[in-house]
């Protein structure tokens, strides 16, 4: 689905007169592979290059060196630009700054309008997309009247209406309250399972990464760790060295293990922890 090979991205910094004054290497030799239908999580502390990477997948930025293929299309090929943006949709962090329409349904129709989809088909797409994120009853509302989580689900609907194969979400839950966050993540999850859309979720919330098929951890423009959530979160010390937390249950399991209890690394849920503790009954008594 997405193949990135030896990607390097330099931002050019300019001084006051606008002359190039130096470069910032935001992505440094990243290679990765995402299979169709996967749910991917990307973690990393501030400034580690996550957003820059995301923008490459949507052809909003182009490689300084290396290559990005989206569904076999090289993002450097200008003639494929619109196909790539349609194949890989993008949801941004701030819901207010990505909703264009003044009515929910009109915003969802914006992408199909740009693609030149015939009018009746736009209506069909808008309806099915709003249904897919559970926002159909709000179709006539003004986006300004919605909660953050609802706005973000409208943004997702706006991307789904373009029938993408992959959606990149750049911290879609960063500005939301816990219940809005849960709604957005479950919408993303169901798109992944029911519509088989590849999801790439960039997040600061470790709990959201637990559900992923594969996790990439970025640091300083490089991929520092990767693997299944269990593999990645078992390496608590390494994660902490990268200034990242692990989910609270995982951390608790890790501490108990260091205290000498027989608990495996990489506990991801409360249930697992409870089970592991139950196995320790004797030594606890």
């Amino acid at each position: 689905m997405i193949k990135i090979s030896k990607l390097i991205h330099d931002y050019i910094q300019r001084d006051e007169e606008g002359n190039p004054a130096g470069t910032v290497r935001a992505i440094d030799d990243v290679s990765l592979n995402v299979e169709p239908g996967q749910f991917i999580a990307i973690l990393g502390h501030n400034g580690s290059g996550k957003s820059t990477l995301a923008k490459h997948i949507n052809a909003l930025l182009f490689p300084t060196e290396g290559t990005v293929w989206v569904n076999g299309m090289d993002t450097k090929d200008q003639s494929l630009l619109w196909d790539i943006r349609q194949t890989a949709g993008m949801v941004f962090q701030n819901p207010d700054n990505q909703i264009i329409g003044q009515v929910v349904e009109e915003d969802v129709g914006f992408g199909p309008e740009n693609m030149g989809v015939p009018t009746e088909k736009i209506w069909e797409r808008v309806e099915e997309s709003l249904k897919a994120v559970g926002m159909l009853e709000y179709r006539k509302k003004s986006p300004n009247r919605l909660s953050g989580g609802q706005k973000q689900r409208v943004s997702i609907a706006g991307v789904i209406a373009m029938h993408p194969k992959c959606i990149v979400m750049d911290e879609p839950t960063a500005m939301l309250d816990p219940s809005g966050r849960a709604d957005v993540i479950s919408a993303a999850r169901s798109l992944n399972i029911e519509e088989n859309i590849t999801i790439i979720l960039i997040t600061h919330f470790m709990e959201e990464a637990i559900q992923a098929d594969h996790v990439f951890v970025m640091d300083n423009g490089k991929i520092a760790m990767q693997g299944s959530p269990r593999e990645v979160f078992s390496r608590v010390e390494e994660m902490q060295a990268l200034n990242l937390d692990v989910p609270q249950v995982t951390l608790l399991g890790h501490i108990l293990r260091k205290e000498g209890l027989d608990i495996p690394e990489g506990i991801l849920t409360k249930e697992e922890l409870a089970e592991a503790l139950a196995g320790n009954k004797e030594s606890l008594l």
Binding site: M90, D96, N97, I100, Q102, T119, P143
Partner: protein, 271 residues
């Protein structure tokens, strides 16, 4: 502080006027404004006023709501009247010191007041019955012929609709910044003009920075959703004339002809 201005706001209800094609309403409003300057007799204004009253009836917008909107222009109205009343030369009626009211001045001031009120009510009726979105769509469609002259019609309409979408967001933000600055001891209530202007700086600077950041984000979000200008774009809600829109154009034409006739025919009983 913007709450009591009802001019230019959409009033949500169902009515014949609401359901008309927005292009009809724009053309109609323009024709109405011109007609106010075509007629110049009290009989003519009576026709204009009657036409407007019928339209208000057809719009289902409460009269009280419209009148309340008029309060915003009351001062403007009074100033215009005063100027006309005192500064028109002619037969003197009353004199207070150096100020004098002339017969012509009186007639002119009254006419001007009627004209201005009808104009404001007439144009606010358009915005009361048409959503901002429909308005921008209609403007885009009406200005379409200008595309041949390389006027960026689509871009202008898109800018208008984005501006409309962001006005409430920026207003909310202004409010937030204002509160934040007040909490830091800023004084927005000062009567002193210089202090007042100074107090705007810590308000406007963050507001502008945030507006630019939003603009940047929005441009990127639009590009990510394949926006590439008007070419090759389809519409979710294209404007299509219905039978009633043709009827409305016909009525407009008839009304306009009556106004022109009132001006041209030298009827002796008209003042």
């Amino acid at each position: 502080m913007f709450k009591d201005i009802t001019i230019g706001q959409y009033y949500q209800t169902e009515s014949l006027l609401h359901s008309l094609d927005p292009r009809v309403k724009i053309v109609g409003t323009l024709a109405y404004i011109i007609s106010l300057f075509v007629v110049d007799s009290f009989a003519g204004y009576l026709v204009c006023a009657l036409f407007l009253i019928v339209m208000i009836r057809l719009s289902n917008v409460p009269v009280g709501y419209i009148v309340r909107g008029m309060r915003a222009i009351l001062i403007l109205l009074l100033i215009t009247m005063a100027f006309n009343l005192f500064l028109t030369p002619g037969e003197t009626l009353v004199k207070f010191g150096f100020l004098k009211i002339t017969k012509q001045g009186l007639a002119f001031a009254v006419k001007m007041a009627i004209r201005l009120s009808l104009l404001v009510i007439g144009s606010s009726l358009m915005t009361l019955t048409t959503t901002p979105n429909q308005l921008t769509d209609a403007i885009e469609s009406l200005l379409n012929p200008l595309k041949r002259l390389r006027v960026p019609v689509h871009e202008i309409a898109m800018m208008m609709s984005i501006a409309l979408r962001f006005i409430p967001i920026l207003m909310e933000e202004t409010d937030k910044i204002m509160k934040a600055q007040i909490a830091r001891g800023a004084d927005f209530e000062s009567k002193n003009l210089i202090k007042k202007i100074q107090s705007l700086v810590p308000l406007l600077v963050p507001l502008f920075i945030s507006a630019f950041r939003r603009a940047n984000d929005l441009a990127m979000a639009m590009e990510a959703r394949c926006y590439r200008g008007g070419a090759g774009r389809t519409k979710m809600k294209p404007l299509v004339y219905q039978g009633r829109d043709q009827g409305a154009y016909f009525i407009l034409l008839a009304y306009f002809c009556i106004c022109v006739a009132l001006r041209l025919l030298p009827l002796p009983f008209l003042v």
